[in-house]
Symmetry: C2
């Protein structure tokens, strides 16, 4: 007998039939003798419908009230799923974020979980009930409802698994695991049986979008065993865990990220401290800077070039233009017609040939590289957006086959 | 400066335009220097939509989960109304039932308010904010969400007004006050400026349906001044209060109630205790018995005839048939083609002519009376349902003109 946390996203609970499908998965897990805590998101389009209602009222809503509004989505899901479980004869009880003990900081719409007072969940498990918890939400110390932001339900699930010392946290999605590349782009993409937290983190942050990054960080921090699996077909998924399989594949995946833009600051005086001023400005505005390139000084001036998430491009440009005097550039240029393509794999640390294999594959396909970034377990290149899918296939072919 | 509680029903907040209409009423009240607490119901069809979602899953849902589901309706309303108030520059904050301190008993779907811990509301008022509270809901001592049942938002509003010692509790509806009869039936119906709690209670329980009965009882108990007014046009409504205006109209209203059925038990032995057994059975099943008629004993047997709410007719019939041996009747008959028409007015206590005027009006219109019931402030007759509107007009004409 084990304690298993199962998380189901909005697509998995979108309508009556899917709710019963989820209920059957949950009931089967319980019937096998396990304690089960289920975390669910809002049904399919509920969140969009609620956002639309708010947009009819104001384009500048209070973030507290947005949380009040959006948190109803998961509350509807948990009630309906619990009813479906009841219909299958599986005793269950639903708990909102606050009832489940999720305490967060005060940052509305993207709160961080501070702790989980899991007494209520434990009590209900002790009554032999499945506990159905609303993902994505909690309350702050003023008892105001907060939400966790994008992918928050994954984080809720991992946090509960950590708090309860669960044996496994299963994240059910519409894919049946983590692949070596997006199967929609690369036909020969293979499902991985196992992947490390670090590899998963690189893949998630690089746009693989199977698992929310914060949830993987949390799982790594607390040693929670994760499994990514499909709610649609009953096959083993991909296990995410700490241990590195040294005999495993050299690389674990090829990822494409089109949520990226390049910012170039031209004519920055080539004196110490200028780059620091630029990047501390970005940090103050909480803009994530990724790949950085700096031209060597030429006649006393240099160019500072870096990438930011596409949706932060405008605020980054505005911030830089307003503060141009502080670092002395003479022109800001932005470009959004780019994509980042990366290979990820803990195995590459000891294999110096990875970069050259990657660059060769791109060269043979006539794809130009604008920027390069490397870490111990990944290599990323920035290329033209229109060549991204071709690049993913070429690189996947070179490493995975 | 006064403290005013304003309650708006589902129709009043059904869409964007109506939400802004409500927001303007609230903002105006605040701009006149008042503290304002607003209680709102779920938007228009939201509750029906949620009920439909549940019905797709099960026809026998857990009542706890129904409360979890339905309480989202008001939560959506309070968030949207608070956003609309913000858009008008009126500082406001929304509170769910549990945040507003509504503590109820454990009866899911028709809980009773036990107390209101109004500290949070008071704190927010002290910050010069309008407080927008979700009606219809609270939590029990296990921190489970409960709902108050039909008309619950009226009760929420009156309970807050009582807890805060508010100067006035305004119930906004789609009519602009309490009328001497339903204006859709009686063209000459007049709006009342003032009515007593007792009169209002009789009118509400007799089917006038302007105010929920429990809310009037609560207002009477705690001396809360009520005003029934319209959210559509800005005219004074009807004040409901304790004081009787001795110089006022003889009768305050004529009401029709078609939610009524007659149950006849034929051939009950004419010995002591048989009626007691019948009505204690009804009381055990919480069936409200209203008018009672008993035929005089004939050859050792009598007939026991009484009215119940139409929607309790079948359970009453079933209960009686299953227990026929206990009171010895030989046949149960039910009839649902009846209506109850009543005149209400505290003034009639000292005017013995009321009954005869009423019966004369019915006689002149050739309307047959099946049963009669009187109290200090009302006279009710049971007649054929198809003659109900004619009867209301005839009686209204005789008393009000």
């Amino acid at each position: 007998m084990a304690l298993i946390v199962q998380k189901f996203g909005g697509t998995s609970v979108a309508n009556r039939d899917r709710l019963f499908n989820v209920a059957r998965i949950v009931a089967n897990t319980r019937n096998e003798g396990n304690d089960v805590v289920v975390v669910v998101s809002a049904q399919g389009d509920t969140t969009d419908d609620l956002l639309e209602k708010a947009a009819e009222i104001t384009h500048n809503p209070s973030q507290r009230e947005m949380d009040m509004l959006l948190s109803t989505g998961e509350q509807i899901s948990i009630a309906l799923l619990t009813m479906a479980l009841g219909e299958l004869g599986c005793p269950a009880i639903s708990l909102t974020g606050w009832q489940a003990g999720f305490r967060t900081d005060r940052t509305h719409t993207k709160a961080r979980i501070q702790r989980i007072d899991s007494e209520r969940i434990s009590n209900e498990l002790a009554k032999n009930r499945v506990v159905v918890v609303a993902g994505f939400q909690g309350i702050n110390r003023h008892d105001d409802i907060t939400t966790l932001g994008r992918g928050g339900s994954d984080t809720s699930a991992v946090a509960i698994a950590a708090a309860l010392h669960a044996d496994l946290c299963q994240i059910y999605t519409d894919v049946d695991g983590v692949y070596t590349a997006d199967p929609r782009i690369v036909k020969k993409a293979k499902k991985l049986d196992v992947i490390t937290f670090d590899e998963m983190l690189e893949l998630a942050s690089l746009g693989a979008q199977v698992l929310n990054n914060r949830s993987v960080e949390l799982a790594k921090k607390y040693g929670v065993n994760l499994e990514v699996c499909s709610s649609m077909n009953n096959v083993p998924g991909t296990i995410v865990k700490e241990v590195v399989d040294v005999e495993g594949m050299l690389i674990k995946g090829v990822a494409k990220d089109v949520n990226v833009a390049v910012i170039s600051i031209l004519g920055v005086p080539d004196v110490p401290g200028m780059s620091f001023k630029v990047f501390s400005l970005m940090a103050q505005r909480k803009i994530n800077v990724d790949i950085i390139l700096q031209s060597s000084g030429n006649e006393g001036y240099k160019d500072v070039i870096f990438t930011v998430p596409l949706d932060e491009m405008e605020i980054a440009r505005k911030t830089l233009e307003e503060n141009m005097g502080r670092f002395g550039g003479n022109k800001i240029e932005v470009a959004d017609n780019v994509a980042k393509v990366s290979v990820v794999g803990a195995g590459m640390q000891s294999h110096p040939g990875v970069a050259s294999t990657m660059f060769e594959a791109l060269y043979e396909n006539n794809i130009n590289i604008h920027m390069i970034s490397t870490s111990e377990i990944k290599i990323s290149v920035l290329i033209d957006k229109k060549e991204a899918d071709k690049a993913v296939n070429a690189i996947h072919n070179a490493f995975v086959g």
